[in-house]
């Protein structure tokens, strides 16, 4: 879409849902209800790994107000997870993590449902617990999914057996020869624990079944069309008998991309004939929903004496937990992000997802990337330090540039890494003398995708000339729909964005969209909205041209008027056209957009569901820290992000994505960790799982770099995910600069830094 941008683009206009949100009137999933609604609750396993010998629901059913109790025997053949269907809705013969659902209750009140869950009697026979990737890969390890071969599996997935979910690999060039001849070889291992999306609104859904058997689901969800497909696949309901309506979404960050609470609501609604609502508690969110995978990252890098990166070998073992959810896709992202945005002569990378007896992991903003980039960018600083090269110069020397090939052979265009490096370094005064004892600066570089796949939109003109955008895209808070796409669409229609109405994210009323994932909404739904607006305008111009006695091509539309380009007196108001249009049965513009897949060297990868980054974008993070030598406490004094967004549509919300992503990344870097013991989560609450607060983070300094893409609206690139990737490495590098000691495990706590200060190589 190379047309000139309308004047609504590039301005910080307010979002259309802002007023409702600040006054408390916005309706979220937790606020929704239906007449006659029952409450659901799940009884969960207290064991990490056990055989189920018997389940007795007698006492649970006797609780006053309880309408139905379902167990694994009632849900045979209902298997979840989109790529490897390995997760029973309710455990039948074994449980594989603490918190796995074993029974589902529907009752008149939440209290009755909770009481009934406590009275579901399950007899377990404990099995050996696999509490780490290392244990899972041992030769004599208990196999967590002995029936794996019987599961439906997405064809691209490659798996050797045992406790491996999937294995992706990348081979390009002759790594062996380069390692043989290189001046230097560096080898390091890094550890990253699981972290949680921790959206403030957890998973919540309502399901209702009508007399014709049509299922209507209301859910706080990021991807209604994907959810509809999941429900169809899991419960064997035809797609056409399912409608998904997205409620207000109180945060997603990837945690609401797959079926969660919804299938339970549906089976309970089918049994009772009543609407059923299920809302997860914070503890359920923390113990039994899909966090970011933990990872062990090992990498070897061959480097020439002048700092030229030659070849990298890498191995990432991601901890998928007991089920696969999105891990088969995420492992392929590890291939691209462990290579990083640098020129390589050869690469050999293997990434695997491994089953353990923890809650199954899923997608979290830039899935798979922070683990890999923490390792790769930390090692780059070690290389720079040991070769006596400035870390900024080392990165500039090796950075990819226009026309270079990416790790899997994709041709890189509109590359902006050098611009972001220089902008971030300038802002943090990189070259100024060291700030003093136990103070340090750090850098990290990232690259990320703008996911493609289809988006569609309608733009409707009502009888009075009101424009309504009807989009399948979902507003999860970013502003991509209620600010960005609205601005784009309003601009194309020549109206104030505040005058545009939006209907979105309902499979019953809106056209298909691939969902709020992969930093794609503004770009893909924006392109669809442009196409729909153009289609509507051409219909309006045909009507106006007939009325005005001119050619449709001679007309333009702005400020509610359609005018002749050369004779402004020759004009018709939009509302006049609407009335004329109304006599023809109303006007509806239609638009669809799907980018062709990005070409890459398909022979270079195996088992990879994602082989290239679509419309890649680049960023550099720079920070300054001070370390308390007595306590190890790290204070983040300054934090700078320079990120290429292609073209800024709304500066305020664009920056909001960057600052929000950066602070989530700072959380992973410094505070957040799901602590497990024998598969059990030890910190399933916000008291013990520390999210960053206003007292923990500085003002985030943002620099929006604009190197336009060829296909995003007016050059826009994806924005949402990238900023979460950089902080762990940037902060670790700054701490290393301050103390001289590397940090190779997240989070970078005071205790870990204190230990590193007390002995070389003792950081754990």
């Amino acid at each position: 879409m190379t047309a000139p941008a309308p004047d609504t683009v590039g301005r910080s206009v307010g979002r259309l849902d802002g007023g409702a949100k600040v006054t408390g009137r916005y309706e979220y999933g937790v606020d929704a209800s239906r007449p006659g609604m029952l409450w659901a609750r799940l009884a969960r396993s207290p064991h990490a790994h056990a055989r189920i010998l018997s389940v007795d629901t007698t006492a649970a059913l006797a609780v006053p107000g309880v309408r139905v109790v379902l167990t694994g025997a009632d849900t045979l053949g209902y298997l979840a997870s989109r790529y490897v269907r390995d997760e029973p809705l309710l455990a039948l013969d074994r449980v594989r993590y603490p918190g796995e659902p074993v029974a589902a209750v529907a009752a008149d009140t939440q209290e009755a449902a909770e009481a009934a869950c406590r009275l579901v009697r399950v007899e377990y026979e404990p099995l050996p617990v696999i509490s780490s990737v290392e244990e899972a890969l041992a030769d004599d390890a208990t196999v967590i999914h002995p029936d794996w071969a019987s599961y439906w599996v997405s064809p691209i997935i490659r798996r050797p057996g045992g406790n491996v979910v999937s294995h992706a690999s990348l081979r390009r060039g002759d790594t062996a020869a380069l390692f043989e001849s290189a001046d230097h070889v560096f080898e390091d291992t890094f550890e990253v624990p699981m972290v949680h999306q921790a959206s403030l609104e957890g998973r919540v859904a309502i399901a209702e079944v009508d007399d014709a058997g049509v299922v209507h689901v209301w859910s706080s969800h990021q991807y209604p069309f994907g959810l509809r497909q999941d429900i169809s696949d899991i419960l064997h309901i035809p797609l056409g008998k399912i409608r998904v309506t997205v409620t207000g979404v109180g945060g997603g960050f990837g945690g609401k991309l797959y079926a969660g609470a919804e299938p339970y609501c549906i089976i309970l609604a089918q049994r009772t004939g009543r609407p059923v609502k299920l809302r997860y508690t914070r503890e359920e969110e923390m113990i039994a929903t899909s966090p970011r995978m933990g990872a062990t990252v090992r990498l070897r890098t061959a480097v020439a004496a002048d700092g030229t990166l030659l070849a990298r070998e890498g191995w990432i073992d991601y901890d998928s937990g007991a089920y696969s959810e999105s891990s088969p896709g995420v492992v392929s992202v590890g291939l691209l992000t462990l290579a990083g945005p640098y020129r390589w002569q050869a690469l050999s990378i293997d990434t695997r997802a491994i089953y353990t007896n923890k809650a199954g992991c899923g997608s979290y903003r830039a899935p798979g990337a922070p683990q890999a980039v923490f390792a790769g960018e930390s090692q780059l600083d070690r290389i720079a330090r040991e070769l006596g090269i400035d870390p900024l110069r080392l990165r500039l020397h090796n950075a990819v540039r226009d026309g270079d090939l990416g790790p899997t052979g994709q041709v890189l265009n509109n590359v902006s890494l050098v611009e972001t490096l220089q902008a971030a370094a300038d802002r943090i005064d990189w070259d100024s003398a060291g700030a003093g004892h136990l103070r340090g600066k750090g850098l990290s570089c990232t690259w990320w995708t703008t996911t493609g796949m289809p988006s569609s939109a309608y733009v409707r003109m009502d009888e009075d000339g009101t424009f309504v955008l009807i989009t399948g895209a979902t507003e999860i808070g970013t502003g991509a729909v209620t600010a960005g796409v609205a601005q784009i669409c309003a601009g194309e229609l020549g109206i104030d964005p505040a005058d545009l109405k939006i209907v979105s994210a309902d499979t019953g009323t809106t056209p298909y969209d691939f969902g709020a994932q992969g930093s794609r909404t503004l770009v893909q739904a924006g392109n669809a909205a442009i196409a729909a607006a153009e289609d509507l305008k051409s219909q309006m111009f045909d009507i106006a041209a007939a009325k005005l006695g001119c050619q449709a091509e001679e007309l333009e539309m702005s400020d509610g008027e359609i005018r002749h380009t050369n004779d402004p007196e020759l004009s018709l108001s939009v509302s006049d056209v609407a009335r004329l249009g109304g006599t023809r049965g109303g006007l509806l513009g239609r638009g669809s957009y799907e980018q062709p897949p990005t070409p890459y060297d398909a022979d270079s990868v195996q088992g990879a569901m994602i082989g290239a980054f679509n419309i890649p974008s680049f960023a550099t993070h720079a920070c300054e820290v001070s370390v308390d030598g007595a306590t190890g406490e790290v204070t983040l004094d300054r934090y700078v992000v320079a990120q290429d967004v292609g073209r800024v549509v709304n500066p305020r919300y664009c920056e909001g994505q960057v600052t929000g992503g950066a602070v989530q990344g700072i959380g992973q870097a410094m505070f957040e960790e799901i602590i497990h013991r024998g598969g059990h989560v030890m910190n399933p609450n916000f008291t013990d799982y520390k999210l960053p607060t206003l007292s923990d983070v500085p003002h985030i300094e943002t620099i929006l770099v604009e190197v336009p893409s060829d296909s995003g609206p007016y050059g826009a690139k994806g924005v949402g995910e990238q900023a979460i990737i950089g902080p762990p490495a940037a902060i670790a590098n700054a701490v290393r600069d301050a103390t001289g000691h590397p940090i190779q495990r997240l989070p970078i706590t005071a205790e870990r830094v204190w230990q590193s200060l007390r002995g070389p190589g003792t950081a754990s």
């Binding site: 979002r15 007023g19 600040v22 408390g24 109180g250 914070r282 909001g656 609450n685 206003l694």
Partner: protein, 157 residues
Amino acid sequence: MSHPLRLTVNDGEYLVIAAAGAYLLDVLRDDLGLQGTKEACAEGECGSCTVLIDGEPVDSCIYFAAQATGKRITTVEGLGRNGAHPVQRAFAALGAVQCGFCTPGFVVAAAALLQRSPNPGVDEIREALAGNLCRCTGYNNIVAAVLAAAGSQDGDA
């Protein structure tokens, strides 16, 4: 065991029958239909459920409804009696809202801050709002919105 409770919420008088030990948050949301106040952690850590009791912010998820009798309760719905409160307008205008789930708690806490300290500095704002978690914005625009609201105060607090 349930008890009748007389509550003053947003200048209105209400009589509710609440279970002994009912939390104020649940009474507000479930009995009075004031759903603007949100629950996110249910243990007083995140501030999403913040309401004002006699002008002071409290976490209503761990505050017994019975404790609130005889006191003045203000929820997000009761801010800004002549249209939106300056804090609400600034949050909407300046990008301090993304998903918005934390927003009711933030605007209530920020309104209390401005009532107490009409022209707070950045450090004072950061300290006063450190008990409210936001997972979306990274906080920059929240601080900016409170500063802007302080600058535009028109006595509508």
